[in-house]
């Protein structure tokens, strides 16, 4: 579930054009299909997915449970932890794609437009659980056409180490949206939580910024961090139409400058350089007291809950309206499947909180609205040791009342936008150039034809 941004660490294997070209000549037959598609034998489906070893185990168990419920159907898990896009691309190119698979949404939109994915809209009447999900989690590529939803939901949250806060005498971050810290309060508290090797804070004489022992907060400048703040400031990445960038507005400039200032002016947050590529996970950083607070996705809960750490979960700091984003990779069904009906049933099975333990262990959040509104259904996935007491407000209510969808999942042409956007934001991240000097030309570039509107936000 970690595949939220494209620049995420990819694992270490190599594909090549050569292999692909070599495969392209092969005939189209699904991998491992026993060829008895209609012959009354067993129907075989393939489910391709990424994830950690914990996720692999949970998904494999879910697939086994599905096989037990559906006699005559076997599902082959195709676990692909590394170089996922490369392999999926190669399989599609050689017409050997799986029946169902996790997918990055841009690739999903593209394949859907090419007619390669099953439209799930016709199944809405038959399966209310498919029809009644959080609106932001659907991927509509056209009127009445959706290739499905996210595999699960995620939001962005504020995580913190309780011992670090109590040592500094800082009250814990609010877990209710309407009590969210203002940006200034957030920064003030980050000051109190930042210590150099001699125990000095950044606003004290003799503070040594080269030897910081504990940072107040780790936020970075990724899109999943700046978008909630833009929303809170009353704007979004683009205007409503998705054709005009809002990055050159005073509001956006303020948000980006504030994020950069955390690192370079206030020195309460590690720079990308200080953090280093291959940085340890959020859990490790909180545990080792490298940082006191971290802005990271809900999926972090899985690790945090398993670690022996006294942690807490809060809502993000706000400007005006408290806001977070909903996000998550997609699951899609290839239209080449020989068993569409069974594939749709598996689709509904695979993200069902009563069938998969990834919800109760903290990795995933459910998709259907009822899991956020009906107390009985909320208990299904949150009443356990993994979910802290404040989750009801900081996780459940926050999602349903204070979220908007992640723009990477809604904008057209996002791959081309990303190629311009990411390097530009890296310049701000270097701390040598004021945000305004980067954002104004960037907005002009985005407005020069890269922004091509949004995908539909609903089926009508």
């Amino acid at each position: 579930m970690s595949a939220t941004t494209f620049g995420r660490r990819r694992a270490l294997q190599f594909g090549g054009l050569a292999t692909l070209a070599g495969l392209a000549g092969c005939s189209g037959k699904s991998l491992g299909d026993s060829g008895s598609g209609s012959g009354g034998g067993t129907k075989e489906l393939q489910f391709m997915f990424w994830g950690s070893t914990a996720e692999q185990k949970a998904i494999s168990n879910m697939l086994k449970a599905f096989e037990q419920e559906k006699s005559g159907v076997t599902v082959k898990p195709v676990f692909t932890p590394a170089d996922y896009d490369t392999k999926l691309n190669a399989l599609v190119a050689s017409n050997r794609q799986p029946d169902l698979c996790y997918m990055q949404s841009p690739m999903g939109y593209r394949l859907a437009e090419q007619g390669k994915l099953v439209n799930l809209y016709p199944y809405f009447d038959k399966y209310p659980d498919l029809a009644n999900r959080l609106p932001g989690t659907y991927f509509w590529w056209d009127k009445g056409k959706t290739y499905g939803t996210q595999s699960a939901n995620e939001i962005m949250s504020l995580w913190y180490s309780k011992p670090a806060l109590s040592d500094a005498g800082v009250e814990t971050p609010p877990a209710e949206a309407d009590k969210a810290w203002s940006w200034d309060t957030f920064v003030q508290n980050a000051y109190k939580l930042t210590l150099d090797q001699n125990g000095k804070h950044p606003d004290e004489d003799g503070f040594d910024p080269k030897r910081i022992r504990q940072y107040g907060v780790s936020a970075g400048l990724g899109p999943t961090v700046y978008q909630p703040l833009l929303l809170s400031r009353g704007i979004n990445f683009t205007d409503e139409t998705g054709r005009k960038s809002m990055l050159d507005t005073p509001e956006a400039i303020e948000v980006f400058q504030n994020l950069a200032d955390l690192m370079y002016k206030h020195r309460v947050a590690p720079t990308p350089a200080q953090l280093g590529n291959n940085a340890p996970s959020t859990t490790v950083q909180l545990k080792t007291r490298r940082v006191a607070m971290v802005i990271d996705g809900q999926w972090t809960l899985l690790d945090l809950a398993q670690g022996k750490l006294d942690f807490g979960m809060g809502v993000l700091p706000k400007y005006s309206k408290p806001m977070t984003i909903t996000l998550g990779g997609a699951t899609a069904i290839f239209s080449s499947t020989k068993h569409e009906q069974e594939a749709v049933e598996l689709y509904l099975f695979h993200d069902n909180p009563t069938k998969v333990d990834l919800f109760s262990t903290g990795l995933w959040m459910p998709l259907e609205k009822r899991y956020y509104t009906d107390p009985k259904d909320i208990d299904v996935w949150t009443k356990n040791d993994a979910h802290p007491a404040e989750y009801r407000t900081a996780g459940v209510d926050y999602t349903i009342n204070n979220s908007a969808p992640y723009f990477y999942q809604k904008l057209r042409n996002i791959e081309a936008i990303d190629k311009v956007l990411t390097p530009a934001i890296q310049v701000i991240q270097q701390g040598k150039t004021p945000a305004a000097d980067v954002l104004k030309p960037l907005a002009a570039k985005l407005n020069g034809g890269l922004l091509q509107g949004t995908y539909p936000t609903n089926g009508s």
Partner: protein, 292 residues
């Protein structure tokens, strides 16, 4: 005789087949793809030289070409000089010669991924080896691969650490320098410098040339560091050509365009190699008569 020939073909068959199936075949296929707008999932349409025309207007193509050239101009000369000097050193009659040779060759044996991960730590500005040493010495530190200006120089430095291959080839070359010539220089009253300048260097030019050509071809295809360490950043500072090609092919699924990129690189490297060979006639000395 005929049986021998048959055996010869038979034994060479795996190599020939492998080359045909996994190199020549895909090359021809990619040449064909480069003339189409093939994006994975969609049918390919023939567009002639459309991809090649588009290249000229693609800022990232130029950027990646610049970055790769910069990197090559840094790595190749450095590796040649360092490899040569160290080869000369371990070629002396010092004690534990074998040990030193092994030590200098070892980095070459470390898998690319492992050494990349290792260097990420070395380059860490906060607690990395390099900055810690600089700080101890009271020298200014650098942000290494995290700074736009310092990213490529950092990677050049890292690549030079793998000079072992060049060194081993130089060592082999040094073994081939005729001893009697050194004696002749000594009799004529020449010192160390004269021995190096008039015997070692001329005899080593073919080896230098070989390392120069293979080094240039290899460095133009640098990929691992960008893929593992920097993802082409910051601000495209390490957007190496092959890394760009890879993202075009496998993130954007634009196989047609990526194939065109591949062929452009092929032609560029081919031209450079031909130029190197042309120029070699002027300075490469072959004992057995005129150079090519």
């Amino acid at each position: 005789m005929r049986a021998e020939r048959r055996w010869g073909w038979l034994l060479a068959a795996p190599a020939i087949l492998g080359f045909g199936i996994f190199t020549i075949g895909p090359m021809i296929a990619s040449l064909f793809f480069s003339l189409t707008d093939w994006q994975i999932g969609a049918p390919a349409k023939f567009i002639g030289l459309g991809n090649y025309r588009q290249l000229g207007h693609d800022p990232l193509f130029w950027k990646s070409l610049n970055v790769t050239t910069y990197y090559t101009l840094g790595v190749v000369p450095l590796t040649l000089v360092v490899g040569f000097v160290i080869a000369m050193l371990v070629n002396q009659g010092i004690r534990g010669r074998g040990f030193w040779r092994t030590v200098y060759y070892l980095p070459t044996l470390v898998p690319a991924v492992a050494s990349s991960v290792l260097w990420i730590w070395i380059f860490n500005p906060d607690f990395g080896l390099l900055n810690s040493m600089l700080r101890q010495a009271g020298l200014p530190t650098s942000s290494w691969i995290y700074g736009e200006q310092s990213a490529v120089p950092s990677l050049i430095l890292m690549s030079t650490w793998g000079f072992g291959n060049a060194m081993v080839i130089f060592l082999a070359g040094l073994q081939g320098v005729p001893r009697q010539l050194y004696e002749a220089v000594a009799i004529d009253g020449g010192g160390t410098w004269a021995r190096f300048r008039h015997v070692t260097l001329p005899f080593m030019t073919p080896t230098i040339f070989y390392n120069l050509v293979t080094g240039t071809i290899g460095t133009f295809q640098v990929f691992n560091q960008a893929y593992i360490m920097t993802q082409g950043g910051p601000n495209n500072a390490t957007e190496f050509y092959i890394y760009y090609l890879y993202t075009k092919a496998f993130t954007d699924s634009e196989i047609g365009y990526a194939s065109a990129l591949a062929w452009v690189l092929f032609v560029i490297v081919l031209v450079i190699t031909v130029l190197l060979f042309r120029n070699a006639r002027r300075w490469v000395y072959y004992e057995m008569g005129a150079a090519r």
